[in-house]
Subunit: 434 residues, 4 copies
């Protein structure tokens, strides 16, 4: 397939506003991006900065870097800002997070100190284990949202930005099923104005504000937030791209690689037990059953969607899938995920696969933030609006409307991402037949 | 892409001749296929028997079974035979292998007893740890090959077969680098006739004989065998498909899934340590350093080819990759592979991934034999000749000529396999863009 | 130390009454004991049947078998009986449990069929996930207990037993903290008579009945049961040995080996995370939070008692210890325990130890049942009464009165067990100085 | 048992001379000891510095620190020196070793810089992978030994030491079986004088020199060295304690804990597969098959001696025990050991135990060096001579003469160590009966 998209040039500054800018993921994202910009670090894990993309046939041997052929904003264009429930500057917050070494922080200390978080839109009922002090006051959710809009406008003006992207890298809110208030834009606005604090989560105020200001919104946690008809409608109306939800790192990334392996090879599955231990603020938040519920729903959907038990009842109809998350402070940000997979082979013989992933939560998430910010900005300039399913690659629960099923397979997601980029620049898509 | 291939119909019997028909993999393949045919077992792991293939766009929701739309031979068409260095019938051999339960063997006992191996073409210098008693005698390698040809012709006639496929599921031979004798068909024939026992391995006699008889040849071990210019030439001349080499099961299958995950996500790699323990005859053979060398070469190439260190020196230029195989009798056929992967993330921070695979060697390999036999026969009827790179999906070291690089990524291999099938039946190939 | 105990001879039959005789542990215990008696199996895991014991100095090289020098009852003396909430005979129950192969059951089928459980003393409030049909009816707990006494007397008479031992191998009851009713024998009797169904668990009725009938009582679950001053008093009054609680198998056995290793080497500990997956009835029962609480308390105490953080605050004062049990049906009785231990070495450098134990719950517990039955009977004949702390070796939560601390270290427990046996037969105890 | 030993007081300075003082283990030992002395670190892992020892009955609750009741030298008494094949001072060497953080080195930088290694007695034929430049020249092994004696005397005089201890923390030499030259002191001296470079390893020159100078000698590698009749004789003649060999850390420490667990519980064993990966100089040396052979012999003996297959043929007669060491540079000093244990339970049912130990080689060994130095000095002052079997606790291959079998069980070793200390100070030994 071959077509060409009209892309506006990436001229001027790109404001990147991070919700939860003092958290572990955010500070790791900011420190790294600034360090890379100064030549102090390598942006490992970032597709936009490192990956190449084959053009033409395999034997033409043409593998340019994506950033050299796709019109992305550069790191030098970026201006960082954000909100947080604690008033610390980003240097202090990064020290606090204990993810990066002191040496890595020193290299960009001045830049980090200069980034002071704006007051957060926060409601402790949605994140019970956190107790923020640096928070906005507002009579209604609508007013709260208006304050966020004002923040965005001010930031854009003060920093002379051409465009702004808003990314949520803050905590998981409690589980909120889709309700009537989320079905239509009109009903949603009404609920905000009536200050329906049960159905309108703070994260929704950020998302609405971003869209209203013409800024792409990226949801990194499993919060409902933009994953509702009201927001889909609004983002299309405003011609703004949105994407989410829940950054796909660690254990779920592995699942979306191993489950396709089983299916590709037509190996059966009896059970999958996933447990992990982590000791950072994220772990603490998820120790609350209500927040965990949101995460669990996000994590559980993956396997079924990939394995298609309706197509393969003999292989996948009786899978026992369990996910456990354990707050375990000794490890801090170093998450460890342990998966036990009970698979079934030829004639029904059982086998076991065990995976122990000693990973680092924020180290895995940071490059995703960078890529998403740059691709969301690209999407905006391509005039793409609504859900960006070509960015499913980055999410545990790729958003999708009621007519589509999500794609969870990491490799199909990646082909889709790259073939979309090829289309944007007017190149042939690949089908790997030669 | 869309095109249509002319395929001869799968009429009549399909002879399946297995080299090493009394081994663990072979007997598991035969028992399972016969049991499936009688409705006693499910062919888990087999693409040809279970997999579906999407036709059209994702939202058309059209997922027919491959065997219902691709003109494959059916299981009822198959007649089994083979060679072995021990004279036991397949029932006795299967008992001996200790892979399957007695109950599973009983169901097809009569059929198994009826399959008596023909005498093997064998030379202990090529498999030092085995001591066969049921072997051919021949003055030269050429004569040895002629005896195998005669076996094939006799089998075909006696069983009234329309077509025959030959598959090697026997042991790994010692390491043999490509030599002058293997470069041209003429030179190769000369070496056989001159009885060059150093450069002409017994496996080559089987391969040559098969091709000469118009039978596709499948190489399941890492032996040099058909992976040489002389054989490529011969198979094209005879219009016969060949494929290999080394069935991709267990640890290497995992590698070709995990390495693409790293690359897809642009995560770096410092080292990869793979060790496994196994106690079957395969383990015993590989305890000999010369046979291990052949296997090691096959296993080591995988990672580099997938990761393309020449394109990504900052991520992959200094990988320390080590593979160890350990003969460990307590486990019998139940192989356990343990991989330790030292990966590198954002800003150079190290992480570790450990995979413990308690698998079953023959259970994983058996469905590959079935698929390869049916696909090789399809290729023959499609008039495909020479190396079948669309079957790379099944091999640790996919064969390729000097103009091509092999594809090791399991998922790209699978897309290629399915898009080839789509092409054969005249359907659109997929690029996953929607 | 050297002394000699007066031991009554093991004459006549020994009745072994098992509470929960149709469960996985019980049936495995019975099948194995009967098979060993017929020479069909080896009693692996049993100290009484296999272990030797050094007498004299190391270089005297005198290692007789324990059963040859300690006056234990023999397997031929044993007559089995018991209670269960399901009416199936032990053969049917053992099939149901799916622990042992059919072949192993066939060898003792007739003996198993002959063992029909008596109706159980049961109250679903104490084991919420089970729904028994074969249960006693009684107006009060006292009456329930009297029915059990009658069962014991009848069994003893009908089978012409010289002595009886009662062992609990049934499920974990809900968590019950020590209350006023458990403090004195008088108060306890009063509560039984007043039918205090909150404080008097069914397991207590069995224990009281056993002691009243002069039968040693062994508590294999973590239930409060005999672990209370009222029962200590009663058992001393009746001159009956009691012991418990919670068979030490799998993960906790490992802990009581690994924690002593750390302490012996003065290595510090930051955290210990234990999780396990199991799919048998025990797993189902423990899926109920109230039953899990009882188990958790039993499992958590181990590490602290061994490591003595009060003596070693610099090493052990801040241990984060977490225990998780997960019901996971695909594994049935094959429990898998995964421990992650964060240890600390020289100058505070962190290390990790990970242990994955693919064990079998009932296979590990069965030999403990046999040993405990024989040792409890020995204790009775030695005139030992009350808590048998020399049997701590077999329990996760060794019972102890308020003046003593429990010993959890598996090796110290074993030395204590053997030195007690040496004392019983009038041999020198060992201090390993030469 | 109770007795009292006459102990000379620990007056004056104690010289500690380390062979291989610039290696990873040695520098970690020195840095840590100096840091502890300055209050900058905790001597985790050291019995002499941290452990307590129960005196009297359990309920007397008397647990004084060993260093408070046993007359050990203090850390302030120690003066460090040593030999190395590289001329770097200990600060540079410690940097090079990459075990400790820069921050930890800075605290004792001046002290470390002051320690310059003396030239080593070295012969590359005994450690093929190393290439030393800072080595002694001598016409014969005897002369080489005399140079070492002179070094010891000079060091003692220059540093005004009351006593000296020599400890080998250098590399593993090639495998050397016991030969005629090692049988008698006379024959051994003759071989040294005749410069028999095949049978007299450099390590023997150090050991002989130490003993000749009245200094205890500790062998931390598996080298033959002092483990021969000639040296036993010499050390008794000179009234000097010797001990060895091969520091028991990591995987073998675990084995001597897990094998006793199996035996204590009478669980059978089918196979034990141990592999480890490490990337330090030790790993590089052991990559040479001749050095590995020495290590392998040391590691393999452990299990058999503990399990006593001659007493328990039904459990332990057919153990398949395999040990593999792999040089894997990405990990540097962070060794990872992976053990797979195939155990057997009740009625022969198989189970598996897998242990993954992410340890740090030098961090585990350093406190052993400190303890051994202090205990060897104590032994000297107690007038103990020859092999110190009460220090077996610290060694993989505890030395023993032909009349004794070694004790490998870590817990029995520890009881022996502590009961010996109790004896030295005139306290009752413990038998744990109460």
């Amino acid at each position: 397939m071959k077509m060409k998209v009209e892309v506006k040039p990436a001229s001027g500054k790109l404001g990147v506003l991070v919700v939860g800018v003092g958290g572990a993921v955010s500070t790791t994202f900011l420190v790294g991006t600034l360090a890379v910009r100064k030549g102090l670090a390598t942006p490992i894990g970032s597709i936009t900065q490192l990956a190449t993309m084959r053009l033409g046939k395999r034997n033409e041997n043409n593998f340019p870097k994506i950033k050299d052929i796709v019109p992305l904003a550069t790191l030098d264009d970026i201006v960082f800002g954000g909100w947080d429930i604690f008033p610390e500057d980003v240097y202090a917050a990064a020290k606090h997070a204990e993810v990066l070494t002191d040496k890595d922080l020193e290299g960009v200390k001045d830049e980090l100190i200069a980034i002071k978080p704006m007051k957060a839109a926060f409601d402790q009922n949605f994140v019970k284990r956190l107790n923020g002090t640096h928070v906005k006051e507002a009579a209604t959710r609508w007013e709260l949202m208006e304050q966020v809009r004002e923040d965005i406008r001010n930031f854009k003006a003060q920093n002379n930005c051409d465009r702004v992207v808003v990314i949520w890298a803050a905590s998981t809110e409690i589980y909120l099923p889709l309700a009537d208030e989320h079905q239509t834009l009109e009903g949603f606005r009404k609920a905000m104005k009536e200050n329906n604090v049960e159905q309108i989560a703070p994260s929704m105020c950020y998302a609405y504000a971003a869209i209203a200001e013409g800024a792409p919104f990226i949801m990194g946690a499993p919060n409902l937030c933009v994953d509702m008809p009201a927001m889909w409608e609004f983002s299309k109306e405003m011609n703004v791209p949105i994407c989410g939800k829940d950054f796909k790192t660690g254990q779920t990334m592995l699942k979306t690689v191993l489950a396709p392996m089983l299916k590709t090879r037509m190996l059966g599955l009896d059970g999958w037990f996933s447990t992990n231990i982590l000791g950072n603020r994220d772990g603490e938040v998820l120790d609350d059953p209500d927040s965990f519920k949101t995460k669990e729903v996000s994590k559980l959907s993956v396997i079924d969607t990939i394995l298609q038990p309706e197509l393969y009842p003999e292989l996948y109809k009786n899978i026992y899938h369990k996910v456990r998350i354990n707050y375990y402070p000794p490890r801090k940000d170093n998450k460890e995920g342990w998966d036990n997979i009970d698979l079934v082979g030829w004639m029904g013989y059982p086998m076991q696969l065990k995976v122990d992933f000693l990973c680092r939560d924020s180290i895995l998430a940071a490059p995703l933030c960078l890529d998403l910010v740059l691709f969301a900005d690209l999407a905006l300039r391509c005039n793409f609006s609504g859900i960006q399913s070509w960015l499913s690659f980055y999410f545990k629960s790729p958003m999708h409307d009621f007519e589509h099923v999500p794609e969870h397979d990491l490799f199909i997601q990646y082909i889709k991402l790259k073939n979309t980029l090829r289309t944007i620049i007017g190149e042939e898509t690949l089908d790997y037949i030669d």
